[in-house]
Amino acid sequence: MTSDALVSLPVRGAGMATRRGGGLRSRRILGKLAGAVIVVWGVVTLTFLMSRVVAPDPTTLLVPPQATQAHRAAVRHELGLDSSLVVQYGHFLRNLAHGDLGESFSTGLPVTKDLSQRLPATIELGLLALVVGTLVGVLVGVFAAIHADSVIDHGLRAVVVTGLAMPQFWLGLSLLSVFFVQLGVLPAPIGRLPVGVDPPPTITHLYLVDALLTGQWSVFVDSLRQLILPAATIGAGVFSPIARVTRTAMVEALSSDYVRTARSLGFSPARVHFIFALRNALLPIITMTANAVAFALSGAVLVEGVFGWPGIGQYALTAIQQSDFPGLQGFVLYVAVLYVLIYVVVDILYTFADPRLRR
């Protein structure tokens, strides 16, 4: 059962544990895409409805407190907030179809611009956490499975279960308290670079990569130091569930007949474990990794908040707190589309991982 492990992530996999078999592959994917489009529409509409009911009037952000009622009304009219909900919704959908997400109430800039500006920060942090968390998770899971029921296995289980029960925002604060306040070895939570350091010339928008490509070694180190703690925090959230499913799937694979066959043919333990067994344990690992990707790339909202990370998670948090409908809409749309993409990729990966799913 995959469901029990899913819940530990702040993202609930949108039914990504797909059923096996069934129909032509392309047709199946098309069917899923159609379903996914409905889901995206539903998510966007739900956000629209809820955000229009939200209590604080967004115009308070845009006009000075001493403004007259007439001034307010004018602003409301300008934003289209005085027309009926149906008209607003039609307007919203029409703009959406043209790729226009409107302008943010809080920054005054087009939402698409806001998001694309903040996305690289989230991606850099998310990717680092994902790569490290997944690799360590799989290795630990395989290792624990090989030594199942030993003292090491029980010790690792304690670590993983604690990781699953750990509130991310608190882990972030605690890491800061130790490594920034007490030990002073890592920098303050002020975003991607220390004060006074300019970002490297833009190539990929990822500071680590750009600094390397342009040979700015000190910027690379500075940006890495800023990344370590938030990446470790998100990475812990990625690591624990992946280690858990890997261990479970590997224990099953290692006790199988085909692993015994591989041993009887003289393959080395490393080859047996990492090629013959791991390949068979891949499906649940893929599912869990997909959840982790969704979690990390949709901007681990609270972690970005704790570390002052200028990513889209923090943008979404501010948007909600300030009733910035367009900003929130844009973020929700991004996440929904991200999920759909992950959905499709997972489906393709499944068929690569397990030939029995190919038709």
Binding site: D257, Y258, S264, G266, F267, A353, R356
Partner: protein, 273 residues
């Protein structure tokens, strides 16, 4: 005690002597193998016969060095090609497994890796032990499949285990085990779960391969019917001990041990050879 019987082969391929062991840290509690001694003659078919729990499987697994994790050998030797396998380290054992000694397990379909093509599994095994090029390994793999009389080899190479029937999977498992031309082949219940006609086909194939390549084969089975039809030499085990070793003809005609008689009576084969 085991009745010593005069079945000393001139040149046995495998000599198991005094093999003793069990579960638990000391291999004492519970003891599952007690002073197991027997020889497997070269170039012929033999069988280790016994009911579930007689120790026949764990004996075979010990020979190939794959006894289950909890099992500890406390005493005894396994002589093979002039070496005591019991004294080998892991690496030395890995070099022998698959190349000098191979084993085919019960339920062939489950014993093939579901996520790799048949061709890959064969070629990887061949490359593991011979280090030949990819293309040479593929050619050898095709040859191995032809050798176990699988039709349409080119297409079959690309297929996966779930696309094979039980009988065909059994042949693939045989091809895999024989791909590096071992001298000794252990077959764990090779025909259980197959239809009678397919059973006969598989056994005929094994006999033929044995005769053609001078392969020594040891069946591990409870099926005395198969043993009576095909084997030359039989080792009977019960509760971790060898109770009788004899030429198949002698055993079926005049079983000495009462347990062997029970087995024969149960399989309604007493007196037939």
């Amino acid at each position: 005690m085991v009745t010593p019987q005069a079945t000393t082969e001139p040149d046995p391929i495998l000599v198991v002597d005094g093999l003793t062991g069990g579960f638990g840290r000391t291999g004492e509690s519970p003891q599952v193998l007690r002073d197991v001694s027997f020889q497997i003659p070269r170039g012929r078919l033999s069988a280790i016969v016994g009911e579930t729990g007689s120790g026949k499987s764990i004996t075979a697994l010990s020979v190939i060095g794959l006894a289950p994790a909890g099992f500890t050998r406390t005493r005894g030797s396994i002589g093979f090609e002039g070496r005591d396998l019991a004294g080998l380290d892991d690496r030395q054992y890995q070099a022998i497994r698959g190349s000098r000694i191979a084993m085919v397990f019960q339920d062939a379909r489950a014993s093939l890796n579901p996520t790799f093509s048949i061709g890959y599994q064969l070629a990887a095994t061949i490359r593991r032990h011979t280090g030949v090029s990819r293309s040479a390994a593929r050619a050898a793999a095709e040859e191995a499949l032809v050798g176990v009389r699988i039709p349409d080899v080119k297409r079959r190479m690309k297929q996966y285990p779930h696309q094979f029937s039980g009988g065909m999977a059994q042949r693939v498992a045989l091809a895999l085990a024989l791909s590096c031309r071992p001298n000794l082949l252990l077959l764990d219940e090779p025909t259980t779960g197959l239809d009678a006609t397919i059973q006969a086909d598989v056994m005929d194939l094994i006999v033929e391969l044995s005769e053609r390549d001078g392969l020594s084969v040891c069946l591990i089975t409870h099926d005395l019917g198969v043993v009576g039809q095909h084997c030359d030499h039989v080792v009977v085990m019960r509760s971790g001990r060898v109770v009788e070793r004899a030429d198949a003809r002698d055993l079926f005609e005049s079983p000495r041990h009462p347990y062997t008689r029970q087995l024969l009576a149960a399989s309604e084969l007493g007196g037939h050879a």
